[in-house]
């Protein structure tokens, strides 16, 4: 029984293992007799391919844990590819740099200011440990407002100087990596404002953002369905190639971002109060609210982070596919949601983990890899993906267990304890006709 429970708790990883086994067994062999599926090149390719979806799914996990949903990530990612590609290939004040420079400056100001305040309050708390559990440490204005604001201003100036200096030439790798996610972060925070302050349902607010971000992307690019091609070395800086290379020849660069995001946000969910609050809000928002948690703050932050990660994914997309296009992320949000759900995170919120999402993303990636190695039609692949979603969620949500329990209950009539999840209908032993109901017309 104990073994069974352990098996059930780790079933996600078993699923991953089974997929790997199938992949290895079914894999074609290269001319030299090597298993192609298990080859290093193939596995790193899978990791590379899932990185963009994976980054987006990381942000999505946090949003879904809170009981929300972010449909806009695909469009925001597409918009980010446009910003990134234009910054790389066009010099001067283009639509991208007009948006990007102020965005990066503003985000830099707030990020550094909040960071400073955060550090100050942490330091203050350390000194004032005996203050009792309830009391919050109120920072004096100079530590609470003025010094953080000053530091923010310094950071904003530095960022503005740095980005403006890049405008006349074209943006470099660092500039792009700084500016693009900032723009996406602002879109994400707009989602957050709509949901938190405007009290819109997350589905609606992010649906609106999904539609409009696509439009903004096309407007920014200048013409409908514009594709901004990025040829490193000719119309863009050579250095941008680094984002599609292998780090030290071991890990593909996009995967480094993906893995770092998983580890960082996994730790945040596990070890910080933010993470605890996220689970608490997703589990029971009313109880969380009444426990003195600033629900709005946490929700806002989650949507903001989701936008930020979509922005980073956008930069990686440009590096990977050498182009930016407004609809680059079409359908990406659904892939991300699917990966999150396969990873065992409940769409109702409050239950799930980033480790699960990581596995979910890998299962998806490995599956398409296996099917591609078998030369299976891409439309069949879509059907298979659908099947995988249904199957894993059936296992994940323990619906399967319940189905089995119900079936076993039916087959043994005397079975059944009060704790059973199903209440079978007992037959009505008294003849119903005895209490024949009057016809409605005679109801008076």
């Amino acid at each position: 029984m104990k073994a069974l429970r352990a098996l059930s708790r780790t079933k996600l990883y078993w699923g991953l293992l089974i997929i790997c086994l199938i992949g290895a067994l079914a894999s074609p062999h290269s001319s030299s007799g090597n298993n192609i599926f298990l080859s290093y090149g193939n596995l790193t390719d899978v990791l590379r391919q899932v990185s963009i979806t994976g980054l987006v799914a990381t942000g999505m996990t946090m949003v879904i844990l809170l009981g929300g949903i972010d449909l806009s990530v695909g469009s925001v990612m597409g918009f980010s590819t446009i910003i990134c590609a234009m910054l790389l290939t066009k010099s001067g004040w283009t639509a991208a740099s007009i948006m990007g420079v102020p965005a990066a400056t503003a985000v830099g100001f707030f990020a550094v200011a909040f960071l400073a305040r955060f550090v100050f309050s942490g330091l203050a708390r350390g000194r004032d440990d005996s203050a009792g559990r309830r009391r919050e440490i109120a920072l004096e204005p100079w530590r609470g407002i003025w010094i953080p604001a000053l530091l923010g201003l310094v950071a904003a100036t530095a960022i503005a100087w740095f980005t403006v200096s890049q405008v006349p030439t074209k943006f470099g790798v660092l500039g792009v990596l700084l500016v693009t996610p900032c723009v996406a972060l602002l879109l994400g925070s707009l989602n957050g404002v709509l949901i938190v302050a405007g009290r819109l349902q997350p589905f609606i607010a992010t649906l609106a953002m999904m539609v409009s971000a696509l439009g903004i992307g096309r407007l920014t690019a200048g013409q409908d369905n514009a594709v901004v091609a990025v040829y490193t070395g000719t119309n863009a800086t050579e250095a941008f190639e680094v984002l599609r290379s292998m780090l030290w020849g071991v890990v593909p660069m996009p995967s480094v971002f993906f893995l770092a995001a998983i580890v960082l946000f996994g730790a945040i969910l596990r070890f910080t109060t933010f993470g605890r609050y996220a689970y608490a809000i997703g589990g029971n928002v009313e109880a969380a609210k009444l426990s003195g948690i600033k629900v709005a703050q946490v929700q806002f932050t989650a949507y903001l982070l989701s936008g930020l990660l979509a922005g980073i994914a956008g930069v990686l997309f440009v590096a990977q596919y050498r182009q930016g296009k407004p609809d680059a992320g079409a359908g990406l949000e659904l892939d991300a949601i699917a990966a999150v759900v396969i990873g065992g995170t409940s769409l109702m919120g409050g239950r799930g983990s980033l480790a699960g999402t990581f596995v979910g993303v890998l299962i998806f990636g490995l599956l398409s890899d296996i099917l591609q190695l078998q030369n299976i039609d891409s439309n069949v692949q879509l059907v298979m993906k659908g099947l995988i979603i249904v199957c894993t969620v059936l296992v994940q949500e323990q619906n399967l267990g319940q189905l089995v329990a119900r079936w076993r209950f039916r087959s043994s009539p005397q079975a059944g304890s009060e704790t059973g999840s199903v209440e079978p209908n007992r037959p009505l032993s008294a003849p119903k006709a005895q209490f024949a109901r009057e016809d409605l017309n005679e109801a008076s």
């Binding site: 605890r276 948690i293 037959p427 008076s444």
Partner: protein, 547 residues
């Protein structure tokens, strides 16, 4: 619960002598009528997750009688009613109707057999019309597809006329008052050709004139041959209305007898079975300084029909170590007072709140938390707990922010905190990693209280702290409340149970329809005085006028 302890007998009301009902209208000449037995339940037992709710209860019901079911909260009344109405389908024992054993597979089954239940919380769709509600799910159809609206309205009209009430079947439920909604529920039950009608606390939210209408209709139904099972916390009402009474206590039947054979005192002692808990605190602490001042508190809430004033100028002071009880009927604004103080009431708040003499602005629960105000909500499962999480996570939740540094959780301190709470409140559990959903109601309640105590509050607001927990656990909660007051906390308790209100409170604030109708000192607060202040419309109750 309208009972008081034997110890409090010195404060017995001047009214309500045991024989007063002999004079009441509608009862004359009915006492001797004994219809044939329509329902027999034998040796009914039921337990929930190990807690016994009913043990070997026998019950029988005759045609045309009003059979009152009495007992304290948690005595098993609701469980028995729900079994008879097919809500609970698993139990031990046998139920026979008209001599045939029956076993309902659900509420529909029971309705088919002629048993209908009207729950305390009404089961109507607010946005549908009266007629649509009556025939919900059983609409007569034209050609098997379209709903025959005219026929529904006509049938509903007939039903309502039969009840002798003047309600337009086309009006929406949301436009009706609670009393009228209750009558719609009765009409719905009648439309099912109900032979057995179960009514769970039908008068708990009614005004006195609405009660009178209801009683008249109940009598009339009984005269038509419907057997009625009736519960109420108001003993006078039962003495007036019922033909027989069955008293349950701690899941067992204590007595079943015709109403004439039982006096009011006999019913009370059968229900209580023992002395109520004595006041463990001795004399109330009055020396403490004022921790909370509420001045002219108002609350306007936005409803479907525009702004409604939920609180009309409530004012009181709370001292350290004092327990202030708030009494009143359901919907009288009791909960709204607590939510307004805690900053979570929906709507516009007016008036001033001062904590320890300083006027404060509490806009959210985070503000309340910072100022040392704690609220234990009425609905602990929906609003108080994260059921799917551990004791430790639940207890620590409000405190983890203050215990963390740089946003990093202090796991060791969280564990220590939870251990401390579990020990101090003697929560019975396997350990702090146990899931809260697996705890009993009483222990869950302790967790909710504990998670707030862990924040070291100055003011504790308790909304129905003993709802749905068993008698022993109640006692523990009372003792806990006394102990906390002894430690200098200012406590505000809202409760629907009169003995509990009188037992706990140093002072009683009585609410009626959003108005503060009284603030009674402990010595002056009796069931009668509180009831009179709480009753809407007028200062008396039906049984006052009947005798």
């Amino acid at each position: 619960m309208e009972t008081r302890s034997g110890a409090a007998g010195g404060r017995e009301a001047p009214r309500a002598p045991p024989d007063h009902r002999a004079a009441s209208v509608g009862r004359i000449g009915r006492g001797t009528e004994s219809g044939r037995v329509v329902l027999v339940a034998e040796r009914i037992s039921k337990s929930f997750a190990g807690v016994t709710a009913l043990r070997d209860v026998d019950f029988d019901l005759r045609r045309g009688e009003v059979h009152a079911l009495m007992g304290e909260n948690g005595a098993g009344k609701s469980t028995l009613m729900k079994i008879l109405a097919g809500v609970h389908t698993r139990y031990e024992g046998v139920i026979q109707m008209e001599g045939h054993p029956v076993s309902f597979g659900g509420v529909r089954d029971a309705e088919g057999a002629g048993v209908a239940i009207i729950h305390q919380e009404l089961n109507l769709v607010p946005e549908l019309s009266v007629a649509d509600n009556i025939f919900l799910g059983r609409e007569p159809l034209i050609a098997g597809t379209l709903i025959d609206g005219r026929r529904i309205v006509r049938a509903a009209e007939r039903l309502l006329r039969r009840l002798g009430v003047n309600i337009d079947p086309r009006s929406r439920i949301a436009e009706l008052r609670i009393g009228e909604q209750q009558l719609v529920e009765i009409a719905k039950a009648l439309s099912l050709d109900t032979r057995i009608l179960i009514m769970d606390e039908p008068t708990s939210a009614l005004s006195s004139s609405e009660c009178e209408t209801l009683f008249k209709i109940v009598r009339q139904l009984a005269d038509d041959g419907v057997a009625i099972i009736y519960t109420s916390h108001r003993i006078e009402e039962v003495l007036d209305l019922a033909d027989r009474v069955t008293v349950l206590r701690d899941g067992r039947r204590v007595v079943t007898a015709p109403i004439g054979e039982l006096s009011r005192a006999a019913i009370i002692s059968a229900m209580v079975g023992r002395e109520m808990a004595a006041n463990h605190r001795g004399t109330a602490a009055k020396s403490g300084s004022v921790v909370l001042t509420v001045n002219n508190l108002t609350l306007d809430t936005l409803t479907g029909r525009g702004w409604r004033r939920a609180l009309h100028g409530v004012s009181f002071q709370l001292r350290q170590g004092e327990i202030l009880g708030i009494g009143g009927l359901l919907g009288s604004g009791r909960t709204e007072i607590l939510e307004s103080i805690f900053g979570v009431a929906r709507g516009w708040r007016g008036g001033a709140i001062a904590i320890e003499g300083r006027v404060v602005d509490i806009e959210s629960s985070a503000d309340a938390y910072r100022l040392g105000v704690a609220l234990v909500t009425e609905d602990r499962k929906e609003r108080g707990l994260h059921l799917a999480e551990s004791i430790c996570n639940n207890v620590a939740l409000p405190s983890i922010g203050a215990m963390s540094r740089f946003g990093l959780r202090a796991f060791a301190r969280e564990t220590a905190l939870a251990d401390d709470v579990v020990r101090r409140l003697s929560v019975r559990c396997a350990g702090i990693d146990q899931l809260v959903s697996t705890l009993s109601g009483g222990n869950q309640q302790k967790i909710v209280i504990g998670k707030w105590l862990a924040t070291e509050p100055r003011i504790l607001l308790l909304d129905e702290p003993t709802r749905g927990i068993d008698v022993g656990a109640k006692q523990e909660i009372y003792e806990l409340i006394f102990k906390l007051a002894g430690q200098g906390l200012g406590i505000v308790v809202v409760t629907s149970e009169m003995p509990e209100l009188l037992l706990l409170s140093d002072r009683v604030l009585v609410m009626c329809e959003g108005h503060q109708t009284g603030l009674l000192q402990r010595g002056n607060a009796t069931q009668e005085t509180v009831m009179r202040l709480a009753a809407p419309g007028m200062a008396t109750h039906p049984w006052d006028t009947a005798s």
